[in-house]
């Protein structure tokens, strides 16, 4: 009798737990999944009026479009440099902060603070620092360096990479600090007894335990790297120097022209690239971190 009631109750609870998902699933379907289906459809027709199927023509036109190529190249280059840096530097900081140094919690606060400071608030300082006649150039000239027009030359990428690192390293560092403190102590003690050096311990033990976190931090940083348009827009507006022309600039311009076919093809292509990157990362993590997972 009691067990029957328990079963009934459990069934009700299970149904309730599924019901909890409904609002979100409905929202995601309405705002993302269904319209994305329409986007996929738009990407293979000539225009929304005649609905003539043209296969991959829109995609071919897109990848031959010079503005798109430039935007894709700049964005890919930016992410390829800034994301690994954001992972490695944050990990380095977390390792340094593992030591017993004075003022540790204050340092943690300082490194984390850019996360909570709106980019728009501080953008003027960045402009002052990297202006043609700005602080960085003045310091460089003092040491006999050549001034660089940072925001209007190929060096523009350096500025936005610095801004990206400034904003993201704190968050990544916290994730690594948490992961480092979760590595089993006895593991490290055994290694020490067997005479393992600091480098050996780091590369052969800690790094393996950290691999799920590294993957997570990498993916988060990658997602955030596509938001760099904000910084570029605030620094230089809608028409930046060539090297700072990002995919979002391309999307904005294409939106202005209401070119749905090009927009749709770009969105679908980008989504596919993200899925491929994600799959590769998951596979890598599976190979590298398998033997330490419980």
């Amino acid at each position: 009798m009691i067990s029957l009631k328990g079963k009934c109750g459990r069934r009700g609870e299970k149904i309730f737990s599924y019901a909890c998902l409904i609002p979100s699933i409905v929202g995601v379907l309405i705002f993302f999944v269904v319209p994305f289906g329409i986007v996929v459809r738009y990407s293979v027709i000539k225009n929304p009026v005649t609905k003539e199927y043209v296969g991959l023509d829109n995609y071919k036109a897109l990848v031959h479009n010079t503005a798109f190529r430039k935007a894709a190249r700049n964005t890919a280059m930016f992410s390829a440099i800034s994301v690994p840096l954001a992972v490695v530097l944050a990990l380095g900081l977390a390792v340094l902060l593992e030591r017993k140094i004075p003022g540790k919690s204050a340092f943690r606060t300082f490194f984390l603070s850019p996360l909570m400071v709106p980019t728009a608030s501080v953008v003027l300082v960045w402009q002052v620092l990297f202006h043609n006649h700005g602080t960085v150039n003045q310091v460089a000239e003092m040491f006999g360096g050549e001034p660089v027009d940072w925001l209007k030359s190929t060096k523009g990428q350096v500025v936005i990479i610095l801004m990206f690192l400034w904003k993201n390293i704190g968050y990544n560092m916290i994730l690594f600090m948490a992961a480092l403190s979760n590595i089993p102590r006895d593991m490290m003690e055994v290694a020490e007894l067997e005479g393992a050096g600091a480098w050996y311990k780091f590369f052969h033990i800690k790094l393996r335990y950290l691999s799920p976190t590294i993957l997570f931090v990498f993916i988060l940083s990658l997602i955030n790297s596509f938001k760099i348009f904000r910084e570029v827009y605030l620094l230089t507006g809608n028409y930046p120097y060539d090297k700072l022309y990002m995919l979002q600039h391309f999307m904005n311009n294409t939106f202005n022209k209401l070119d749905y076919q090009k927009l749709s093809a770009a969105a679908v292509l980008f989504a596919l690239v993200m899925i491929v990157i994600m799959a590769v990362l998951l596979i890598l993590e599976n190979i590298f971190g398998k033997d330490v997972e419980n």
Binding site: G27, F31, I38, A120, S121, V125, H131, L175, R230, M278
Partner: protein, 296 residues
């Protein structure tokens, strides 16, 4: 032992220098917000003179970064907060976009994460994985579907065009589900023995236990949308809608026209998030720390 001691000092110095560099842009913004407009024009005017059509209008060629104002004044703040209402209007625009998004995204996330973490099943696993895929999609992908929906339901140029899709953004669901999965089954069993229903388990056990994570995720969502630039530029383009733009977008224009005020506006804009950070740093750190790992 001695060598270890020395290297600890080196590490402290390196970390301290780095930490100061990270603090620098924020501190400089605050320090400069107390300058008079004329002092700012004298120091930074050169930055903008070459943006106008008439060249060679500037007197001093260099842009001088200053830590301490010659004369400390609240003039900038007086203009921003009292004389010129433009900035306050934009500030409230930001509030009316960011607060509803944060509150409703959290409510949806609490309910959904609870659904995901109770009675795990294969179907739920598949749906959750689909959410992860959606989460990794950048704005460059999701804004196109968002635009189509806004156009279809006649939401373009309205705040709801930005707010509605943002409520269902899966980022907070992803983080919170990972935290909720750690709630010990024994707590739930004990509550059930006391006759608690599912809704009570959610409000009396899950929510209190995940309080720090919920606060932390709320802060992350808030700052992300407080910073928004992409969505208004695409979803709110008419002249009337531009009046509803958040301050984060508007600040890029202030910087070029009204340099004398930009620092104070920047400081006013960072007050809500910096206050959150000062009061909630420990929650934020806990929340971030719990969320590590894409699978677990």
């Amino acid at each position: 032992m001695k060598r270890r001691h020395i290297s600890n000092i080196t590490v402290t110095v390196i970390v301290a220098l780095g930490a100061l560099l990270f603090l620098l842009p924020t501190v400089l913004t605050i320090a400069n917000s107390f300058m008079t407009s004329s002092e700012i024009s004298a120091n930074y005017g050169a930055m903008y003179s070459n943006m106008t059509d008439s060249e060679k209008t500037y007197i001093s060629g260099d842009v001088n970064l200053k830590f301490i104002p010659d004369k400390v004044t609240l003039d900038q703040y007086r203009s921003v907060l009292i004389t010129n209402s433009d900035y306050l209007v934009k500030f409230w625009n930001s509030v009316w976009l960011t607060v509803p998004i944060t509150v409703f995204q959290l409510l949806v996330a609490i309910l959904t994460s609870y659904g995901f973490s109770r009675y795990p099943s294969k179907v739920k696993g598949i749906i959750f994985f689909a959410y992860i895929i959606l989460m990794i999609m950048p704005y460059q992908v999701t804004l196109v579907p968002n635009y189509l929906v806004a156009k279809r339901f006649d939401l373009l140029n309205k705040r709801s065009a930005i707010i509605l899709p943002a409520i269902f953004s899966p980022f907070s669901i992803f983080l919170l589900t990972k935290v909720m999965r750690r709630v010990p089954a024994s707590y739930v069993e004990a509550a059930k023995l006391d006759g608690a229903g599912e809704l009570q388990i959610l409000t009396r056990i899950y929510m209190p236990l995940c309080k720090n994570a919920i606060i932390s995720i709320g802060m992350l969502v808030f700052i992300d949308y407080w910073n928004m630039v992409e969505q208004p530029l695409i979803l709110m383009t008419s002249d009337e809608a531009k009046a509803l733009h958040p301050l984060s977008v508007f600040l890029s224009q202030i910087n070029t026209s009204d340099v004398g005020l930009a620092f104070a506006v920047g400081v006013v804009y960072m007050i809500p998030t910096v206050l959150m950070f000062l009061y909630g740093e420990d929650c934020l750190v806990d929340g971030i720390a719990y969320s590590g790992g894409i699978k677990g």
